[in-house]
């Protein structure tokens, strides 16, 4: 598509969050356009890597859901929200029912489908088909670069370039926009994540959107050193060794990561071998996570027999948790007309301070996508939108800086383990000084590139902004909690609250204010399931 379109709801991003949002908006009767930077159905880490889901049937034994919420709340560093956790469980369960009804080929055990895991290529191919059949207009290779805003300051669409059509500009005017552009993995190369460069966060922040939990952005994952296949589940069977063959002492391979990170940060080589895997499980391991084993097979490594060097790859806010602040049950952001779903939104409501990968994120993408799509349809259908004009600035007009150099400068601050995995106050301040200086240059001198390279320029600006919010929020949390590890600083009770951030030329941080008691508990329109009726009973 080139030129202009008009629609009720525009969804930016076609991963799980975007596709569920498009389906929900279409089923509410809205006209929907979905634009993806890449290709809806293959783009993003769910499509390439698959998702284990936080998935619990309501008819499980006893009060399984309530107990799960309670124990996960404690694991979350006490920053999650029990009511949202229960909502996510409930919505995810029902949407996965839909997937089953649409024919997703789940495995079966004794005639019963096991629905807690979704294989990426299959899942997202089916989501695309479903979205297409719902009458949604899908625009592939149409990265959005900026939002449109109307006279009243309400979001009214987006504009970008069609990179397979000679980078022709496009504009979609819309009654409401759902951002589902994923998190930001800083172009680290972790497979499937290079489309996730924080573009949505930047577009939203340019209109004053607030972010939350950005200090929980230091998610790294282990991969074989030659590649970036960061599937971690099979590492439960790993023995780790150093160059001289000495075994790395860890209480349980499941909790080995920090010790391995320490060694790698100190410049040692670390090797893994999956020799703790029981022989009778090895075939099943391959069937569970084929894309962990295929790259090893191709490299000629037998992971059960050979030891192979590993590295840690940054996944930033993809498997971290920070993102746009959500202020209502329909995933509205702090900017009117703008809704956020999936990784572009903070996942603190379900995962708090710990990683959302491995269970919560996939469930959150499904449920938040569904809510945001419905919310955007309510807000946007038929809304008048006078004089929508493009917003945004950084990296949008051709300028002097080389985008690859900007990206490299950001990566130099965020990729190294000794800067980001193990944070120190002094190190964060030094990095911030350099990142702030870089931002000033990006804003003043602009980033070079014409045609399709406008996307690279904009991405470079987005990465810079993302790193600055991450480290500012990190400095504001003067303790360690979950994914934020401040060397030598233990967890402190007085930090048991979320931290907000935002701003571009003048970034800020602030503790999240407590909910206004005069407003009472938010409405609960989503379920009559007794588990959720009184959140207080779970407390």
């Amino acid at each position: 598509m080139t030129g202009a379109l008009d629609t009720d709801v525009l969804v930016l991003g076609g991963g799980p969050a975007g596709t569920w949002a498009a389906l929900a908006a279409a089923s509410a009767g809205a006209r929907v356009v979905l634009a993806d930077k890449g290709y809806c159905g293959t783009s993003g880490p769910t499509a390439s890597g698959g998702n284990n889901l936080w998935y619990l049937p309501p008819d499980g034994p006893g009060d399984a859901r309530a107990r799960a919420v309670e124990s996960r709340f404690e694991q979350s560093g006490r920053l999650a929200d029990r009511r949202w956790m229960a909502r996510v469980l409930d919505e995810t369960y029902r949407r996965v029912d839909d997937l089953a009804a649409w024919g997703y080929p789940f495995p079966e055990e004794d005639g019963v489908q096991l629905r807690g895991s979704l294989q990426g290529p299959e899942y997202m191919k089916r989501m695309r088909r479903r979205v297409h059949r719902s009458g949604v207009t899908i625009l592939d290779h149409h990265p959005a670069l900026r939002l449109l805003v109307d006279d009243w300051g309400v979001v009214a669409g987006a504009a970008g370039l069609a990179r397979q059509r000679a980078a022709a500009p496009w504009t979609v005017r819309a009654g409401a926009v759902v951002l589902a552009t994923g998190g930001c993995a800083f172009l680290s190369g972790a497979f499937g994540t290079n489309v996730d460069t924080g573009d949505g966060h930047l577009m939203a922040a340019e209109l004053g959107a607030e972010l939350s939990g950005m200090e929980f952005s230091a998610a790294y994952a282990l991969s074989p050193a030659h590649g970036a296949h960061t599937k971690g589940l099979m590492m439960q069977f790993a023995t780790y060794t150093t160059e001289d063959g000495a075994e790395v002492e860890v209480p349980d391979p499941l909790t080995a990561r920090t010790r391995v990170a320490e060694l790698l940060a100190a410049g040692e080589r670390v090797y893994a071998r999956l020799d703790r895997a029981p022989r009778d499980l090895r075939a099943a391991m391959r069937e569970a996570q084929p894309n962990y084993f295929l790259p090893l097979d191709k490299a000629g490594i037998d992971p059960f027999r050979d030891r192979y060097p590993v590295r840690m790859v940054l996944e930033g806010t993809v498997r971290g948790t920070g993102g746009l602040r959500i202020v209502a049950d329909d995933c509205a952001t702090t900017v009117p007309g703008l809704f956020a779903a999936g990784d572009v939104a903070t996942r603190e409501p379900v995962s708090g301070a710990v990683s959302g990968g491995g269970a919560y994120n996939g469930a959150w993408a499904i449920s938040s996508g569904t809510w945001a799509g419905a919310g955007a349809a309510r807000f946007g259908a038929g809304r008048a939108r006078p004089r929508a004009v493009p917003a945004g600035r950084a990296g949008l007009e051709p300028g002097a800086l080389d985008p690859a150099e900007v990206v490299a400068a950001v990566q130099a601050e965020v990729l190294p383990l000794d800067r980001n995995y193990f944070r120190t106050r002094a190190g964060l301040r030094r990095s911030l000084a350099r990142l702030d200086a870089l931002w000033r240059r990006v804003a003043a001198e602009g980033v070079a590139g014409t045609g399709r390279d406008r996307l690279r320029a904009r991405q470079a600006a987005a990465l810079t902004a993302h790193a600055r919010w991450s480290y500012r929020a990190a400095l504001a949390r003067d303790e360690s909690r979950g994914l934020h590890r401040l060397v030598g600083a233990p967890t402190r009770d007085e930090y048991e609250h979320r931290i907000l951030t935002g701003g571009l030329d003048e970034p800020w941080t602030a503790p999240e204010p407590p909910a206004d008691p005069r407003l009472g508990p938010p409405p609960v329109p989503w379920s009559a399931d007794p588990v959720h009726e009184s959140p207080g009973a779970l407390a």
């Binding site: 890449g38 495995p107 994952a221 589940l233 099943a284 491995g358």
Partner: protein, 119 residues
Amino acid sequence: MIEVVSAARCVACDVCVKVCPTDVFERGPDGVPVIARQGDCQTCFMCEAHCPTDALYVAPFSDPAPPGSPHADEAALGPALGAYRRIVGWGSGRTPGSRADKNHLFTRRVRVVPERPED
């Protein structure tokens, strides 16, 4: 990274050009795609899964294969082309790989340990 497009197998259907999330390919003059931006490849294997004729090979490395590497040599690779499509279970007569999904066996154990590895 993507290393091989087999001109012998390719039917110039453009599928890989469309599905590559990072827009690595360009349609060549004869319709056979060209690896135009290898540096943008994120080794996600999605093109290999979607190519209907198993004409693509994605090497497991995050950097380009060195000159002379067997990973860039179509003849040396043989049946390795299209490996991911076989595993995903796409193509006529195949069963979707998701039917054999065994993740439940492995997430069960992880669930009882507080600092879980994500996956």
